[in-house]
């Protein structure tokens, strides 16, 4: 068995290799260069590649996104780190009104090759303003891609693809995945906009993203011991949204459960379920969604654990809908 790759090192390796490969790639953000990132994802990159290529910025997310946009339309390929996904409310104007629209509005004079990386997600007791996943804030914006890996291999391959992509990409890194270890990628890059069947099964399709993929896989293992064979799909990309892979899976299992770390209304799961219903209703025997509560993310461990769906909730929901008894 080959050496295991840690998720945070996969991110660092992807950046390192892309900065090395393409002189147009620059990487900047708050505390990313000298301090090496608050989640220790980027240590040593400035030492290796120099201050021209990797640098620390003021705490100015609007300026950061604007700088990335302006640099991207004039020859550079910026990767920026907006430290927590929650902070993405600040640079939204530049990303939504400048980067996302440029390719189309300019009549395709040029595109905007930039990547915005952020740590996202709850479960770390970070409270309401350091626990959100901003993927759905951007999912409805034409012209910007939204992707997020669940494994170290995908972290490296998707980030490399995002940096090489000619369009703006919002890149989601779940903070409860940074210490996960897994096999290194088999290929140099992983294509953007493609979901992955990460566990094959015949009784039900469970679709999730980021950390939720791990909870789904854990639930599937539990259910397998009870005779329920679940297929697990990692959606990997919220825009473009690969509904075809999901429809293919549903055609096989006839049941789908979507697990989202986020609220039900306005979420990607509800959106995807709408597409499944519109395009694959005849395949469906059952379909439902498991999400967080509708409050902001709470701080206290008892409250946050209750708010956040876990593997046990996924397994229980499947048993209930399939009319199966819980193991005694």
């Amino acid at each position: 068995m080959s050496e295991q790759l840690e998720f945070r090192k996969a991110i660092r390796d992807a950046l390192d290799e892309e900065i090395e490969r393409d002189p147009a790639v620059v990487f900047f953000g708050e505390d990313v260069a000298l301090p090496g990132g608050v989640f220790v994802t980027t240590p040593g990159l400035q030492e290796k590649h120099g201050r021209e290529r990797v640098f620390d910025t003021p705490i100015s997310e609007m300026a950061m996104a604007g700088a990335a946009f302006g640099a991207a339309v004039t020859g550079l390929r910026p990767v920026i780190e907006v430290m927590f996904g929650d902070f993405m409310a600040l640079p939204m104007d530049s990303l939504v009104n400048q980067s996302a629209k440029f390719w189309y509005v300019s009549n395709e004079q040029a595109s905007v090759p930039l990547v915005v990386r952020s740590a996202v997600g709850a479960g770390g007791r970070f409270g309401a303003m350091h626990s959100q996943i901003h993927g759905t804030w951007f999912q409805g914006i034409p012209g910007i891609k939204v992707v997020g890996p669940s494994s170290p291999a995908d972290a490296k391959g998707l980030l490399k693809s995002a940096i090489r992509d000619d369009n703006p990409v919002v890149f989601l890194e779940h903070k409860r995945l940074y210490s996960v270890k897994g096999a290194p990628p088999a290929e140099e890059t992983v294509p953007l906009g493609k979901a992955a069947v990460v566990r094959e099964g015949s009784d039900i399709t469970i679709v999730s993203a980021l950390r939720g993929v791990h909870d789904s896989l854990q639930a599937a293992e539990e259910l397998a011991g009870e005779g329920i064979d679940a297929e697990v799909v990692d959606i990997r990309s919220l825009r473009p949204l690969d509904h075809e892979t999901v429809l293919g899976s549903v055609a096989k299992t006839n049941r789908v459960m979507l697990l989202e770390e986020g609220p039900r209304v306005g979420g990607w799961a509800a959106n995807l379920l709408g597409i499944i219903a519109a395009e694959g209703l005849e395949e469906l025997d059952d379909a439902w969604i498991v999400t967080t509560g509708d409050t902001p993310a709470p701080y206290s461990p008892t409250l946050e654990d209750a708010w956040l769906p876990a593997a046990a909730d996924v397994a229980a929901a499947v048993r209930e809908r399939l009319g199966a008894a819980a193991p005694s």
Binding site: G66, A67, G70, A71, A72, V73, Q98, N107, A110
Partner: protein, 337 residues
Amino acid sequence: MTSDIGAGPSVEAARAAMPAEGPPDRRWLDAYGRMLLIRHFENEMQRLFLKGEVHGTTHLAAGQEAVPVGVCLALEPDDYLAGTYRGHGHALAKGTEPARLAAEMLGRATGVCGGRAGSMNVIDLEHGLVGCFGIVGGSIAAATGAAVSAQRQGKVAVAFFGDGASNQGYFHECLNWAQVFDLPVLFVCENNLYGEFTPMASVTAGGEIGIRAASFGMQSQVLDGNDLWAVREAAVEAVARARGGHGPTLLECQTYRHYGHSKSDPAKYRPPDEVERWLARDPLDLARARLLDQVVSEEELAAKDAEIDVQMDRAVEGALAAPYPDPDEDAGSEFKE
């Protein structure tokens, strides 16, 4: 001059304050021609809007022509520029072809953005225009970013923005950013005294926008934005600073728009005597007087006027004759493949 805004140099004073050096005579005459082209363009857009040929809304820059034309006299063709939703003058000053800009206003396929952008969002990378931005302050961010590239390419970036944008987060974040990284960028504030319908003085602390640069340790100048010569001189100095690796400059160019904020605005909130004072200092009149006094003959000036008339007429005729984009063939793609 800040305390006596609107009462800047008269034609006579402008003559007396003439700089000893400048670009060759022909370049001044051409610069005047570009200002006149912008004026004609704006008047034509007003006319065509009323005829239903220009859609949505427009923000006209008549009266403010000396600022972009003066600044662009200090730039090289491949330098970068970011403009605002009042951006027709920014594009024309940087070199966008009037016929293609007019076609864009009319939503035609031959427009500089194929009719996808309209009045507020023109992009013309061929001429270094990274965009005109419909969100107040957006140009400041875009030019700051272009300056990140420009620093590596030996170029300069310019942001045009209004007085209103100086109260946006972009202004404060980007001026700090640009100064911290010594970026080669000019922040050019076109202070036309009104943020949309609201007097700048009533919503802007500190009285003057130029002095805000001091808090960032940035060089700045407050100047008469209706004086082409003064704008060029200040821009030349700022561009030299930028190219020399000495960082950004904030220029507050005080000027006045002849029309209201946008199509829906008759600008009745402006005191008549203020309007009168500024109209008496029309940047085109100031430029004509100075050109005649120093640079050209009546005949040469008349020939330039005639040339611009013809250029504008042809631009509008061409735009009106151009086809609309075809929704089937010109729908475009969300992403670059």
